[in-house]
Amino acid sequence: MRNILFFVLIFFTQLSIAQENTVSGKTVDSRTGTPLPFVNIINKSKNTGTTSDFDGVFSIEAEKGETLEFTSIGFKTITIVVSDTATLDIQMEEDVAELESVVVIGYGSQRKKEITGAVSIVGDDVVSELQPQIATEALRGTVAGVEVSQQGGNPGAAFNINIRGISSNSNNRPDIYVDGALTDFNNINPDDIETFTVLKDAQAAIYGSTAANGVILITTKAGRRGQKPKVSYSNYYGFQQVTKKINVLNATEYALVQNEKFVNGGDPIRFPNVAALGRGTDWQEEIFNTAAVFNHSLSVRGGGDKYTYLLSGAHLEQEGAVGGDKARYQRDNVRLKSDLFFSDRFKVSTDINYLYTENGGIFANGLGSVTFNALNSEPTIPVRDQNGVLSLGSAESSNEVYNPLTQIENTFNEFSQNRFSGFLNLEYKVLDNLEVVGRLNITNQSGKQRSFTPSFFYGPGKTANVDPQENTVFEQVDTNNNYVFDYFATYSNTFFEDHDVTLTAGGSAQRFWGFGFNGVAFDIPFNSFEFAILSNGRPFSPSIEDDERPNPDNLFGRFEYANTRSSLFGRFQYGFKDRYLVSAVFRNDRSSLFAPGFESADFFGVTAGWVVSDEPFMENTGVTLLKLRGSYGELGNDKALETRQGVFNFDLQGEGEFPINGGNTIIRGAAPGSLGNPFLKWEVAKQFDVGFDLQLLDGKFNFIFDYFIKDTENQIVDVDVSGILGGGTAGAVVAPQNVGDIRNEGFEFSADYSFNIGNLEIGLGGNLTIIENEVTRVIGGEFIEQNGFRLGQAAARFQEGLPVGSFYGLQTAGIFQTQEEIDNHATYNLGATPAPGDLIFVDTNNDGVVDNDDRTYLGDPLGDFTYGLNLSLNYKGIDFSIRGFGSQGNELLRSYERDNPFVNQLDYVLGRWTGPGTSNEIPRLTTETTNNGLLSTFFVEDASYFRINNIQLGYSIPVDSFKAINLEKLRIYVLATNPFTFTEYRGYDPAAQSGNIITRGVDNGFYPAVSTYTMGLNVNF
């Protein structure tokens, strides 16, 4: 007998025998008392089945003593043994305990209880609590082992999702399937989501070559057969603000610091009259604004006798908290999902999605960005001159630093995309226990981009200056397409009562292709964005007066790619008495991305589980579930190569231009471009996992533990190779190489507990992830280093024995207080001669000289542990929830300060060294050349943080008074997103990371994280 504990609400009524071997009755929704149609009914003993009709009425052949099973999605499964019962009243209870709920696992589904891999599930309750603008945010801090970081806080900014650590040096993004169709988080209306299922371990091996980063399966809401139309409407309005300001000097402080610096450098003081300066301009204040955000979301769902449907649409609009309208983001989704039941055996499902996005964009992160200019501009410059015109950047200051408002004003970017995807799913039950499925998903996405750089004078010598008639427009159109065709068969049967076997086998064919055109034109009429299209401009720069021919590079570019993959897969699942569970998965992939001889690869996974709580000895212990799990598998990752084609090929697409014949005439030669790597192998992740699930107190307390080791081998990375191979020539593309191995080892814990105190329902939850990340092998060298600290300094490394992206530089040990200390210290061979007040760098190799060889590990952006917490309270109609997440022990590299004597500085310089004993942390200020700007511990900051990312208070108005209009739910709420971040970090956002894996921890001035305050409404009827 299956899970008798959970089927307490079966009511037997009207016991009588109508006919000799037919049992009939009615299926009813236990909560509402209304008939529940289309419940699947199987006679387990005879292996025959039927379905209840529109009114819930059914009849099935059955004899006394035989077992009947009633299943319906969203309801608990009910199993009964036929006794002397003619008419059964089957009260189907909505599935709350979830153990019986069905979880998608890729090309099939499984009851949650039977799952033997490390799988995490996030429900729509989390989505509605967080009200994310982009669905990814619902995974932030909510799932153990899943780390989500955003690449800055600008609207539409990309997210990094790392499942179980940084396991790839090129691309860690997991594949995302919505109802079996491949897509991307940015494309989804968050309100459509019912559950996220995150496959974290070898369970994902059914996805083979794309599974190493984990797989996220999203199930969307759907209508039910026989369901009356249900309308849901929700909206929210709110505003976003930057709440964090970096503390820079005000005008008076700045002038004093400048004077001291110039005197120290032997130069005349810059500001003889400091007193008149006051606070000056707060550039950050000038660029930050309050930005509006609003969202409308509407859905209608329901079903009839032979169909279900869901129609939904949403509209999101958002401005930038920096850049306002220039950084806007807009998204529209429309979707139609339907199931058609042609017979009990044949079902056709379709899902049609349309997405439109439109956004602007300001230069958000890094050197030269708006925030960079705001931080570095001198506070002594007024925002506007006496005529009210925005002031220019100063002549003295760095070439790249100028008034950030002129920058915003002269930024013109327009991106839009249309995306259609159509999904067709055919399911046919050939026999009662054999089902075949064919599905096709086709996506067409087309994008349009227009960017205009007007002629403008930002200040003397500024690199951004554009001369009259040299304004440029860039336009691009591109289209990206893919289809994924899957077909598989599932056979499931029970042998000798206790042996459950499920076999799945099938294949998949996928093709990804796209192309695009772009072009540049100069000299747009009236220097205006309004007229900025290619055909209004000139194809070559007016400054070359006697140019006889346009430069084809400027005129246009074109790109095209096509990649295919074909796969075979199979899965064997076996369960004995629902207690001892094993599964094995195999997949073979062939990919056009790899050279002949390397294009095929095999992947596999095995999982096993033991439901200890179902053992007789566990009865009456109060443990509703105790399941031990283990898995091992080898999974692939070829994402490093996506949207590229034939990287193994040698070609002649390089740039070989030379102005032979003198003058302005450039002759185009033909040069080697792609240098090809025909020996490129697949990235393989070897994953091991053990864990257990524990459930106590009738499901009120849940605890999940996992320990894992994930070894990712043959990292595919675009790396430098020796210059003798020609990579230093123009247009040469060094093919990616297999460069090394990474190990991630860690623990995941998650727990939740819900209980009542009177009418107060309380829910508590939390998760904790501890990951150790280490590069275990680097092929062809000891490390890979990437630049990115300030102006082109080496920043971070991929080095054996260290975490990926470790900061690597000089270790400091305070400040030289006296010349004597310098004389007693190892000799500096770093460029400048040290003086008292300079940073003391440690001679780590003890060779008596401080030089580049003394550089060492200084920290890394990976936290020692990350965690998420949540609390929810419900009291009658009032609901309250609070969520937070954090990271401890992660570091970021402060790199947003321009190394130039005139720019503004952070206010920590107020604590600088000014003489012996004044400071042992902040070096002296001078215009002389010093070594203090070299990458050292001085720039590495602890970026541990805890962020309250969500506080929500809602009130559901009692609907009884609205019975007349069939109102089911009416709720209003207020929500604060990211209201508080607790951190010691000086920069804008301790939780941001860039998209580059090795330098992801280098903070070149991330767009600040924003806090959002909204009010919203949910209506169902």
């Binding site: 690199t463 390089g654 032979i660 003198g662 050349t929």
Partner: protein, 508 residues
């Protein structure tokens, strides 16, 4: 009965299941074999008539490496300092080169290595493909490619010492198997290429900028000079004196736009303003076709009718400026003194002047290399980055004459009179006929030739290499460590790529 039915069902189901699962086996191979459409493949390419000309052009392309040595040769020497933006932190890798405090990880050194070996790669790629196919002008094209490879290797050997050598292009794995050759072997390889090229090269070319017989012979002479093979240098250079080259009467005319590719140019590296770089890619060689050295060396000013803006790098120092004698017409052509040009006396007046001058870092701001810095109208300032069309006069006829003078004077069979006659041509062009005297012979004469080289070529990028070649670097350059700074270090990355195959240069 039920059992039988059930079993039959099971077999049927399993049979169907297996049949279904086997469907895909038949059709997956072709599916994943994706042809690259619209792309001219390597084999198809060589069917085109222009193929080898286009391929040869791409071997010329890496000559634009030379903006780097043009800068390094000056700001690493006693002629000028790196300078740049006030504060002396601008482009740190240059600052460290200028003060001889750079290390094995200096990115500018690595870029030089990459761009020179990029040239070797392109030339060898041409040779690999050309030697097995037949096409028009094959011998000349092959000779040009050999010359180019010799030039790239010459720059490699004078910057890095002995390097890996290979007749065909390098392939992955060579970095761990082909060792560094000795300096002698490298020079032999260069001479071999040049000697093979010279007979096939024409006296003149259809297009300006392609190498001629004289260009290759002059380079061979320079290669010999660097090996102190004086007689070899004389042998290579003497014929060049009767190939129609001459000194322009007015020194300053050599460096005007009109003077490009003139009667004094033996081999000139072509730059153009037709394609600009930008802040993001200027380091990447040849993305810009402009001369970055010339552009970077300009003053920070705007609105001047003659001089256009640059980034105030490579500022000449008094040590050089004061060396020019009063009668030396090369001074005004070589050095621009903004104080004199604008008629002001203090730096503040410069800053306040109509051109809104911004001083660069270091001393002598206001003094620039007149012969190379950008002129108004020839490039557009602002973001039109690195667009200077200034050609690098790689080997001028004056160089041929001074090399001959030095070789004759230092040869075992020293011919002082010939040496003096060659020197005299250069000196008299600068000062007027017979205005200044020159030493009679011996070391004094050699030193005078060296000094004339400095005065003649200041700003053109040969000074540091001359100092090293002539053994004067230690005494002339503060911080120069004998036995170390003669050569750049092999870039640290390259040492790692070679996995122990390549040793580091002495002292590094």
């Amino acid at each position: 009965m039920i059992t039988i039915k059930k079993t039959r069902n099971t077999y049927l189901a399993l049979t169907l299941f297996i049949g279904f699962a086997l469907i895909p086996l038949s059709c997956s191979e072709d599916f994943t074999n994706v042809e690259q459409e619209f792309e001219v493949g390597v084999d198809e390419f060589f069917l085109e008539d222009e193929a080898f000309f286009e391929l040869l052009i791409s071997a010329y392309d890496p000559l634009s490496f030379s903006w780097q040595t043009q800068l390094f040769g000056e700001f690493m020497s006693d002629n000028s300092i790196v300078a740049g933006e006030d504060g002396c932190q601008d482009i740190p890798e240059f600052q460290r080169l200028g003060t001889l405090t750079f290390t094995t990880t200096n990115i500018a050194v690595a870029r030089l290595w990459d761009s020179l070996f990029g040239g070797v790669f392109r030339a060898s790629f041409f040779l690999d493909n050309a030697q097995t196919r037949e096409f028009e002008n094959k011998d000349v094209f092959i000779a040009e490619a050999r010359f180019l490879r010799a030039l790239f290797y010459f720059e490699l050997v004078r910057n890095f010492g002995g390097v890996p050598l290979k007749e065909s292009r390098f392939l992955p794995g060579d970095e761990t198997s082909i060792p560094r050759s000795s300096i002698e072997e490298t020079y032999d390889f260069i001479e071999n290429d040049l000697n093979a090229a010279i007979p096939d090269l024409p006296m003149s070319q259809a297009e300006i900028g392609r190498v001629t017989k004289a260009g290759a012979m002059a380079l061979l002479g320079k290669v010999k000079l660097y090996q102190e093979d004086w007689d070899g240098a004389i042998e290579a250079l003497t014929p060049v004196t009767s190939m129609g080259f001459a000194l322009l009467p007015n020194f300053g005319d050599v460096f005007t736009t009109e003077g490009e590719n003139g009667v004094e140019s033996v081999f000139e590296i072509q730059y153009s303003n037709a394609e600009a770089g930008n802040w993001n890619n200027w380091q990447e060689n040849a993305q810009s076709e402009g001369n970055i050295a010339a552009f970077f060396s300009g003053p920070r000013l705007s609105g001047d009718p003659i001089y256009d803006a640059g980034f105030s790098f490579n500022i000449p120092q008094a040590d050089l400026v004061d060396l020019y004698e009063l009668t030396d017409t090369r001074k005004s052509a070589t050095i621009l003194n903004l104080f004199e040009y604008l008629g002001v006396t203090t730096e503040q007046e410069l800053i306040d002047s109509a051109v809104e001058y911004t001083p660069g870092c270091g001393t002598d701001t206001g003094v620039y290399y007149n012969k190379i810095i950008p002129r108004t109208g020839e490039i557009d300032g602002g973001n039109q980055f690195a667009r200077s069309p200034y050609n690098h006069r790689y080997i001028r006829y004056a160089d041929v004459l001074l090399m001959l003078a030095e070789a004759h004077n230092r040869s075992a069979t020293s011919n002082e009179n010939l040496a003096k006659s060659f020197l005299r041509q250069v000196v008299d062009r600068a000062h007027g006929s017979g205005v200044v005297s020159i030493p009679e012979s011996g070391v004094q004469l050699t030193e005078r030739i060296w000094e004339e080289r400095r005065l003649e070529f200041a700003g053109e990028g040969d000074r540091f290499y001359d100092l090293v070649r002539t053994g004067q670097a230690t005494s002339r350059l503060p911080g120069f460590e004998t036995g170390k700074h003669e050569l750049f270090p092999i870039p640290e990355d390259e040492i790692l790529f070679s996995q122990g195959n390549w040793g580091q240069n002495p002292g590094w």
